[in-house]
């Protein structure tokens, strides 16, 4: 795949997530974000807190890796090729993936959250991500590598890291939307 096409797609997907957060979520009563759609189901705020936990790890890691690559004189490659593992992770995370996953214990969000703060942090992180995707246009997505959060010895290509990170975000943003939908129309809550 063309590196430019990949980054353009990821940029546009992140922009869409950010736009939703700015346009809709930050203007609804914050308590609404905190309502569980069903007992034991994550509230919208919990979905966002879960994503924030990943952002707290990945954003600084990606920032650092891009900076180091720039200093080392990395230049962009036209093509990006996913590694086997990278493609697998990204596919697994996609919103339409049928695989159910259990979040690692350290990424399970607390039940009591300050919804406004959680959302503000989420918005901050999406702004940072957009900047990183733009900065990544100056480096080689095949060569820059990021250690994954659950197993530091596995280092995924930057292009794959962006790929599964964004897919994971889209997955839980959809979940957050379903949670909010259920709060607005309790009768229609069909989250299984």
């Amino acid at each position: 795949m063309q590196a430019k096409t990949l980054l353009d797609t990821l940029y546009q997907q992140t922009e869409a997530i950010l736009d939703k957060a700015v346009h809709e979520w930050q203007n609804m009563p914050p308590q609404k974000l905190n309502v569980e759609p069903a007992p034991g189901r994550w509230s919208a705020a919990q979905c966002l807190a879960h994503l924030n936990a990943y952002g707290n790890y990945y954003l600084p890691a990606i920032e650092k890796a891009i900076q180091e690559a720039q200093q080392a004189g990395s230049t962009p490659a036209t093509e990006f090729r996913s590694s086997w593992l990278g493609a697998y992770f990204t596919k697994l995370m996609q919103p339409d993936s049928k695989t159910k996953m259990k979040s690692p214990a350290n990424a399970i969000p607390p039940t009591f959250l300050n919804p406004a703060e959680t959302l503000a942090q989420f918005i901050d992180q999406q702004e940072r991500m957009l900047k990183l995707i733009e900065a990544a246009r100056t480096v080689n997505l095949n060569q820059v590598r990021i250690p994954i959060s659950i197993a530091q010895w596995i280092r995924l290509k930057l292009g794959d890291t962006f790929g599964f990170y964004t897919a994971h975000h889209r997955r839980h943003v959809l979940q957050a939307e379903r949670a909010l939908e259920a709060v607005s129309n309790p009768v229609m809550a069909v989250e299984k």
Binding site: E15, V22, H23, P29, P30, A116, E117, A120, D124, E134
Partner: protein
Amino acid sequence: MLNTNARDYLLSIWPMLPGEVLEDLAAIFQEFSAKRKTVLTAEGEVEKYLYLVQDGVQRAYAIGSDGREATLVFTYAPSFSGVADSFLLQKPSRYWFETLTPSKFLRANFRDFDAVLLKHPLLERLIRLALSQTLEGVLVRQIELQSFTAEQRFRTLMTRSPHLLQLVPHKYIANYLGMDPTNFSKLLGQIKI
């Protein structure tokens, strides 16, 4: 090439502009767009362009010696934008100018702008009037900053530019009002209930 986009924009702000002046002025503007959170002018740079905002929201902000940002102004259509003082005086900017949402502009460089104003004294006059309004706005904001409570500033902004709430992350609005984001969301909750 005839820039009908610039002509329409200029006519919308100055409907009485005579044909020849309009053509000359429209000719100095080029279309330009920028993604979200793009720094268009950094502190220390001389502002190269006068912008007309067609779409999106931008802000000017200063960074204090403690690293904290102070949002000075938001701009959105229809309005001039850019670092006005740096542009007009051609001196290094004391602050930053960035987009807060994807933005579209028409923009003109200083040499062309200066030349067209020299050619058409009417434009000097129109720009003076526009700058007078800007000055008025800056001074009104000065009053708000120095003698309004945070809540009064909040309410004033909500009457003047309520649409900003849907367009930009609230942290920028809170920063513009000199409030911390927690107080801002508290006030926002009160106003809606």
